[in-house]
């Protein structure tokens, strides 16, 4: 897997991760809010239901009948033996059974007449029909902090909860029942209790209302109705709601992830792939172009010429980009004449490479005609000039070495001056006769000059990529730097070693700064006497 597909994968993964995060966050929020609304609405609905049940209890029997029943129970309760009535109610459970079990309840037999039983039956029926768990009518005993039951009805399922008349449960002053008045819209509570049979937690909504609208808690003879409604299946319903919601969220998230991947593929990866393909095509072409250009130059291998291989030649070209504008060459035009050529086009990259190929062909064309180097350069200049709309130029140093005599005849079209080390001496810049750069002006004249090279002499040619190599501080190596590096070599160093040494000297000097220009060198050494 290459770098780009890793990037693509990361992008897709990141997108999916983002969508997942967002959907988890949104669904948590939605579940929270939804549950709150759901619970609140349910609570509201159950409250309303409890209230309407409580409100309708008073309609089941005649008001006077109710009042009679309530006052009858109250009278029996108040006339009951004080050791029972005043018993400590806090012992064990809500209702205190601190009396003889048969005796106290039997006191209320008198109150449980036909009408009482009928009313209880009606209330039981109302419980069943209205889905209320239980309905009970009670009066408060403020002195002893009690609510005393008058009638207790319950749905069939809750019959075990029923309390007989005259039984009581505690209430306290801080309880709201205590201050319940006709102005109160009712007292509501919701509480949880463990179901004795199933052991599950059940939520109840409770509503307490005065039995008759004019009753007041603190008044004598007032009675109240309490209705408990179980939150039927409310947990089940909530869970089901959450289940549906979660399924919807999961499906939506999957759709979103799929969509985002599609969008990514079509709107980003597709075009990106095209760009990458285009980039790769260009890179392939550049590398092909680079290979073609390289094949137009000699390979970087040391070659020997002349009788007894007395002349050693080595050259190298390192472009700053894939293709460069520098070139060099050396070749025999007859048994005794070796053409030496180094040049630099005024640009880099593809334009320079194209211009370089054209220039090289023209120069080679005239160099192989056994012309004086100056004459060859003059003709090449005119030829290049005629086909140079882009106003580029090329600097050329062209020499012809007579292998048998060591006579070098050369001409220079605006190129760097050659460097020569005489046997036993140091590398020095040879101030030659300079002509104008090639390709820019017509009819330029280039003078041919002559240098005698003897055994042990070294000729070093280069392009400005060497002297103008820059380090990270933007300082240039310069001619002094170059000569210093050259002169650090022992005298009998062969051309290949000279060039490789200079390449490493440039690397060392640049100190990691990118190569800004093509670097080309050509080195010739007369190794022995003829």
């Amino acid at each position: 897997m290459d770098d780009r597909s890793v990037k693509k994968l990361h992008l897709g993964l990141r997108m999916t991760g983002l969508i997942l995060c967002v959907s988890v966050f949104l669904s948590s929020a939605a579940i929270w809010i939804g549950t709150r609304i759901f619970v609140n609405k349910n609570n509201e609905a159950y409250k309303m239901q409890a209230r309407s049940v409580a409100g309708s209890v008073g309609l089941i029997a005649d008001e006077d009948r109710f009042r009679d029943m309530v006052s009858l129970v109250r009278n029996i309760y108040e006339d009951a033996p004080s050791d029972i009535r005043d018993a400590d109610a806090s012992m064990g459970g809500e209702v205190a059974y601190s009396y003889d079990e048969g005796e106290y309840p039997s006191l209320f037999k008198e109150a449980q007449d036909r009408i009482y039983t009928e009313t209880i039956n009606k209330l039981n029926y109302l419980c069943e029909e209205s889905a209320a768990a239980d309905i009970f009518i009670w009066f408060p005993d403020y002195e002893r902090h009690r609510m005393v039951f008058v009638m207790f009805a319950a749905a069939e399922k809750y019959q075990s909860e029923i309390e007989p008349p005259g039984f009581w449960t505690e209430i306290y002053e801080e309880d709201e029942e205590y201050t319940l008045s006709p102005d109160t819209q009712g007292y509501y509570a919701s509480y949880e209790r463990e179901d004795e049979v199933t052991g599950q937690t059940v939520t109840y909504v409770q509503c307490i209302l005065p039995l008759y609208p004019d009753d007041n808690a603190v008044e004598e003879g007032s009675a109240f109705v309490t209705v408990d409604i179980e939150w039927k299946d409310v947990h089940e319903q909530t869970l089901e709601y959450l289940r549906h919601f979660l399924i919807a969220v999961v499906i939506l998230t999957l759709i979103l992830v799929g969509l985002s991947q599609l969008i990514l593929r079509y709107s980003m990866v597709g075009p990106l792939k095209k760009v990458i393909a285009e980039e790769e095509r260009v890179a392939t072409e550049l590398s092909l172009g680079s290979d073609i250009q390289k094949s137009a130059l000699p390979e970087s291998v040391m070659c020997h010429f002349g009788s007894g291989d007395r002349v050693a030649v080595y050259g190298s070209m390192k472009p700053a980009k894939e293709t460069g504008g520098d070139f060099f060459d050396y070749y025999l035009i007859d048994e005794d004449h070796l053409v030496l050529l180094i040049a630099d086009v005024s640009d880099k990259g593809v334009p320079a490479a194209l211009f370089m190929m054209m220039s090289k062909i023209f120069i080679d064309c005239f160099a192989t005609q056994h012309l004086e180097p100056g004459e060859a350069l003059m003709r090449a200049n005119d030829a290049i000039f005629a086909r140079n709309k882009e106003q580029m130029f090329v600097t050329v140093w062209l020499g012809v070495l007579e292998l048998s005599t060591g006579i070098l005849r050369a001409a220079n079209a605006g190129h760097e001056k050659p460097v020569i080390r005489r046997a036993g001496g140091e590398f020095e810049i040879y101030v030659d006769v300079h002509g104008f750069i090639a390709g820019r002006l017509k009819n330029m004249k280039y003078k041919t000059y002559e240098i005698m090279l003897g055994a042990g002499d070294t000729l070093f040619l280069f392009t400005d990529g060497l002297t103008e190599a820059m380090n990270t501080e933007e300082n240039m190596l310069g001619a002094e730097g170059m000569l210093g590096a050259l002169n650090s070599l022992p005298e009998d160093t062969d051309p290949e070693t000279v060039c490789l040494h200079m390449e490493s000297a440039v690397r060392q000097f640049s100190n990691g700064a990118p190569q800004s220009d093509d670097l080309t060198m050509l080195c010739v050494r007369i190794e022995k006497e003829n």
Binding site: R4, V275, I276, D347, F393, T395, G414, I437, E468, S516
Partner: protein, 119 residues
């Protein structure tokens, strides 16, 4: 974003190698001051001036006092300016530093260009 990185790698080492060009047109004489370094990246800026703004200029002075260095790309633009001015007037290079003079000398451009030193 390896793609963009690659794009940048193709460019020149940017860093501080910048070129500042100040132009001053007085009638038919244009005075252009070059400050900094002229290379393949910065030379096109001068190239734009040469291509677009030399119409009607009879004399072009290129003040090279503060030009530290010029690569062959810079020379190419100077030659282009020279050719334009050769047709419609003349061009002068003012106070090129040693490094620039060396390059002008090396390339033989010294023989064609008018160079003035006033300091």
């Amino acid at each position: 974003m390896g793609f963009f990185k690659k794009l940048f790698e193709h460019g020149e080492p940017s860093g501080e190698s910048s070129l500042q060009i100040k132009k001053d047109l007085k009638g038919e004489e244009m005075y252009v001051t070059l400050i900094g370094r002229m290379n393949a990246v910065t030379a096109p800026e001068l190239s734009k001036v040469v291509e677009n703004e030399l119409g009607g200029v009879k004399r072009l002075v290129l003040d090279l006092t503060d030009l530290e260095y010029t690569s062959s790309a810079g020379l190419r633009v100077i030659m282009a300016a020279f050719e334009v001015m050769n047709r419609q007037g003349n061009m002068v290079l003012l106070n090129p530093c040693e490094a620039v003079t060396d390059v002008l000398d090396e390339t033989g451009m010294v023989d064609f260009l008018e160079i003035i030193r006033d300091r």
